[in-house]
Symmetry: none
Subunit: 257 residues, 2 copies
């Protein structure tokens, strides 16, 4: 592994620690919030919390792997003989990315049939996208990275199309005071997901060595924070507002809305 400056090493180290804390905190926030939403929305919060819990676990592992991959002495960072394990990210995504789409579908409270069919379709495409991206991520040459990256973008485009065309009609049937939030959640999902391919393509650029490592790690971390914790909080807000509208005062309608 290439050597890093102490500043680069610390930036990634602190970003991982920050993300572990944020994911764990968001998990607890979402699960405690289960008691504040109506029965129809509890599963959405369970799943949103799970996504953050799985991410917290993997960031803890990634953090430990980062610590083990370098030896820091007197402000000098040298690679140890244990490689940094990047596969944790893909293991995480294989679980969390399909679940992220499921949480969006659940909070919309569609019919049972639609919920199951959309979850299978979108969740399946998401899993396929991750599986196809991995061989490119671990490839040492750019050509292999480009081939698998391109294959992986086919299910990605399908998901985006489904989110905007397929879910569009369902969004318009949402109560008015949450329609904006549902659209924001969809947009945030799209925007943060669009960030991953950009990070994936960093090695295509003229950046090299430790800059690539730092760019990829910090980039994926920011995208994960938005896609998981950010979207999770939006799903919570949607669930609370819909519960207030559909189940009434027991769910704490504010005094002067």
């Amino acid at each position: 592994m290439e050597s890093l400056t102490f500043g680069q090493y610390s930036l990634v180290y602190n970003a991982f620690s920050f993300t572990f804390a944020t994911m764990a905190a968001t998990t607890l926030f979402l699960w405690l919030g289960r008691s504040q939403v109506g029965p129809a929305y509890k599963t959405a919060l369970t799943i949103s919390g799970l996504v953050c819990a799985i991410a917290a676990y993997h960031y803890f592992r990634i953090f430990e792997s980062w610590e083990g991959a370098y030896v820091v002495e007197g402000g000098v960072v040298a690679a140890s003989n244990i490689a940094f394990n990047d596969a944790y990210r893909y293991v995480d995504w294989l679980l969390t990315v399909p679940l992220l789409l499921v949480e969006l579908i659940l909070v919309m409270r569609l019919s049972q049939v639609e919920t199951v069919s959309k979850s299978l379709k979108l969740g399946g495409a998401a899993a396929l996208m991750i599986v196809l991206g991995y061989p490119g991520e671990i490839a040492t040459d750019i050509t292999t990275r480009v081939i698998w990256g391109t294959l992986s973008s086919i299910p990605f485009v399908y998901i985006v199309w489904q989110l905007f065309a397929g879910l569009g009609a369902s969004i318009n049937s949402q109560p008015e005071n949450v329609r904006g939030l549902v659209k924001k959640a969809r947009l945030l999902t799209f925007a943060s997901w669009g960030f991953y391919p950009i990070v994936y393509m960093i090695p295509y650029t003229s950046l090299s060595g430790s800059n690539v490592t730092v760019g990829v790690q910090v980039g994926y971390t920011i995208a994960d924070l938005i896609a998981k914790a950010g979207v999770g909080v939006l799903v919570y807000m949607i669930a609370v507002r819909k519960s207030q509208a559909e189940y009434g005062d027991a769910y704490g309608k504010p005094v002067n809305v």
Copy 2:
């Protein structure tokens, strides 16, 4: 790292251990309290507990980092070759300081629109304040520390102004028996926050070497205890009183009010 006397080393060591225990205990207190407040106040206690939980995690890390940064043998303290990682504080504040403002806003039970807009404004300013303070904290020269410290004080002044001018009107619309408590919570927030810049400026003074290290660590620790655990307990008291007033006997109105 400069060497410390055994007394100095132990003072910081015990302060970190005390703070970990206090933060963890306050977390549990606030979360257990969720069942004792009305639906509208549960999120305020969730967030207050989260702030303390995140702080507990970071104090655990800070404690371990402190232990690793020194070698103690026969009452003599020598620096090890692993640096004490002060960045944990900033990583913590980046998460907890915006949330501290959000808990104050939530317990006031404003309208949905006001809650969201004030949370974004104050939370955003708080995050900016922390980000601007960090380059100064890690700087080795006083000039850099002063520049970033001054920049960081701009969002700080904005927050104080918002707390006193912007929230003033909302406080006067609070029920009479909590108005005093809300003002106390605001004052405690202001007073404890005012403590951070003072600690930040310790290196400007004639104090040097290990005295600075001990002063900064103990100072930030006391400020954290007041701002997080202290304000958290006040938020709990406000939430309980307002629940009694708004939701009635189910929330344990005292016998002779």
